[in-house]
């Protein structure tokens, strides 16, 4: 459904994308996962025909992004990173406008967005500017879906949205996926990777890995431990100072660190105890996508 071939793009001196190639099959949720500035938005804008890549090309449903941009634009749905609907228009007016732009009507395609829209329908006369973050996302998704696109591109749809709404939003994406719609979604939240059929870990304009979330985790090699203290920053510093760890970083309320050898773990534990840092937890854990990301980021890419 989406095919990307050797795309590179730069803004002046800054290289935003370096030789990216991948493919997304029909009916998949493809997650672009990476921190801010990794190149997610640039890639999405190239695929939605909004900017031209310096090098390489891409095809959406067989249509080339540069030459056939007009055709592509009438067949895709796009939801930019920032809420970009008209805040002084009501929910209903926004929907009607986008329906009209695509030459359809709300009634005609009501069934397509029913699941999402009915959650905000009771407020349909409220101005978009007065909606909560979660409701805005639902409206934006409804507007992006109103013309029955086969592919939708969502740029960080859950950024700045409360955890409950985030969960709901992913549930909606799953429903769309089951209807055969291809979804390319970017997110800085690593925990959302599990909801995707396939993910690309993107960092500094490059893909660190593309695979199903399960496979990415199964490829994880080092031994991963987590520790917790009342002074995590000091703990992190000491773990790094100990010299037996490959990498150590903060992860939520824990310090995660990796070792190659079981013996090193005990050496680290003793080392920390000498520093008089109280340890509340110290155990081996299974890696998450974030740990894989950290590991891939530090290891040289093949």
């Amino acid at each position: 459904m989406i095919r990307v071939e050797n795309i590179s793009h730069s803004y002046g001196e800054v290289q935003a994308l370096r030789d990216i190639s991948f493919e997304v099959k029909k009916g998949q949720i493809f997650g672009l996962i990476g921190p801010d500035g990794a190149g997610k938005t640039t890639l999405i804008r190239i695929l939605t025909t909004l900017i031209l890549a310096d090098q390489g090309t891409a095809f959406i449903d067989g249509m080339e992004v540069q030459k056939e941009y007009k055709k592509i634009r009438s067949q895709i749905g796009y939801m930019p990173g920032r809420f970009s609907l008209y805040e002084d228009l009501s929910i209903l007016e926004n929907l009607n406008l986008f329906a009209a732009i695509f030459g359809t009507t709300l009634d005609e395609n009501y069934h397509l967005i029913e699941d999402i829209y009915k959650q905000i329908e009771p407020f349909k006369h409220r101005r978009a500017g007065q909606l909560s973050g979660g409701m805005k996302q639902k409206l934006a998704l409804s507007c992006a879906m109103i013309h029955a696109p086969n592919v939708i591109f969502l740029d960080e749809p859950t950024t700045g949205v409360d955890p409950v709404s985030r969960k709901e939003f992913w549930q909606m994406l799953k429903t769309l996926k089951e209807r055969g719609i291809t979804i390319l979604v970017s997110t800085p939240y690593m925990d959302e990777a599990a909801m995707c059929s396939e993910v690309a870990l993107i960092h500094d304009g490059q893909f660190l890995d593309i695979d199903t979330p399960e496979k990415i985790i199964s490829k994880y090699k080092p031994l991963l431990y987590r520790a917790k203290s009342s002074k995590n920053n000091a703990l992190l510093k000491e773990i790094r100072n100990s010299g037996w760890t490959k990498s150590a970083y903060l992860n939520g309320e824990f310090v995660h660190f990796t070792v190659e050898d079981l013996n090193d773990v005990n050496k680290i534990r003793v080392f920390i105890q000498k520093q008089e840092i109280e340890i509340m937890e110290f155990k081996e854990v299974n890696p998450s996508i974030e740990d894989c990301f950290m590991d891939l980021m530090h290891s040289p890419t093949e």
Binding site: L50, S74, Y78, S84, Y86, D88, E93
Partner: protein, 368 residues
Amino acid sequence: MKRFNAFVLKEFYHIMRDWQTLLILIGMPVAQILLFGFAISNEIREVSISFVDQDNSRYSREIRQKIDASNYFKEGVEIYDTQEVESYFRKGEIKMAIVVPEGFAEQLVNEGNGQLQVIIDASDPNTASLLSNYIQAIVQSYLDEFNRGAKPPFFIEVRSELVYNPELKGAYLFVPGTISVIMMLISAMMTSISITREKELGTMEVLLATPMSPVQVVLAKVVPYLLLAFFNAVVVLLMGYFIFDVPVNGSVPLLLAEMLLFIVTSLALGIFISSITSSQQVALMISLMGLMLPTILLSGFIFPVENMPLPLQVISNIVPAKWFLLIIKGIMIKGQGIAFFWKETLILLGFTLFFVVLSIKKFKIRLS
């Protein structure tokens, strides 16, 4: 077409919902016309003067009556000593004092010439020279009556006939001027701000990813402002006609057509501005400095173009309002037909075409 209509409707929503801006847009022309009409006026009407009659003769009393009988002056405080005049000027109670010196009548009768002294507050030089002219005219007409029957030895009378605006009304100047300012303001400034707002808010990005072309987006945006500007221009025209007796001597349909042309020129300018910047603030600054100021100062609205230094005269040629003012004054005041200003009309058309083509070239089908 349905798509276009929905978009125009959306623009109307934007304008209607921002009621503060709407109020300013509709209220401003009315306020401007009333300001120009009543407050900023250099017409002479009921100016306070004092008559210092030290002669108290038949002639001095007759002159005084003659002056009082005109609508231009009204007598303020009574002053008997010329020394006091200045203090009343300072207090701003009077603008002019007419002093008839002692022995005025005697000299007039015996020697055939009398001398009146007129002291004028010239802190506003334009008004001062007008006052001086008026008083000379009144005294001259008194002298004419006085001399009737007698034959002066030698006499040339200069009779000026003021055509088109015999009463020298300021309204003849500011009604066309205000129309051009209003149309420039609403069409160019509001359009450029409204287009750049879409860029700033990111809605342009969403629109670009739809089958709607940027040209369609901009055209749909322009429609409501065209109507609004036209409505305002007609309001100003009606106010001029009914409140300040400014006539439309020429053809009304022609006038409306030329106004429409100027609105389109302004819209093209607004679109052009929005194509070179993506910030509302910058668009506002360019509109104010680059369009509004020249429209007010260089178009001949306030200062006659012929009196400007040569470089400014040259610059005034690229101010569309200059050409529009020539056209609209020609129609309204002189009652001219298209034969007299087809050149100016062509120039406006040229401006419009130039900016439309330039903007279309700069229109982007993609971001940045």
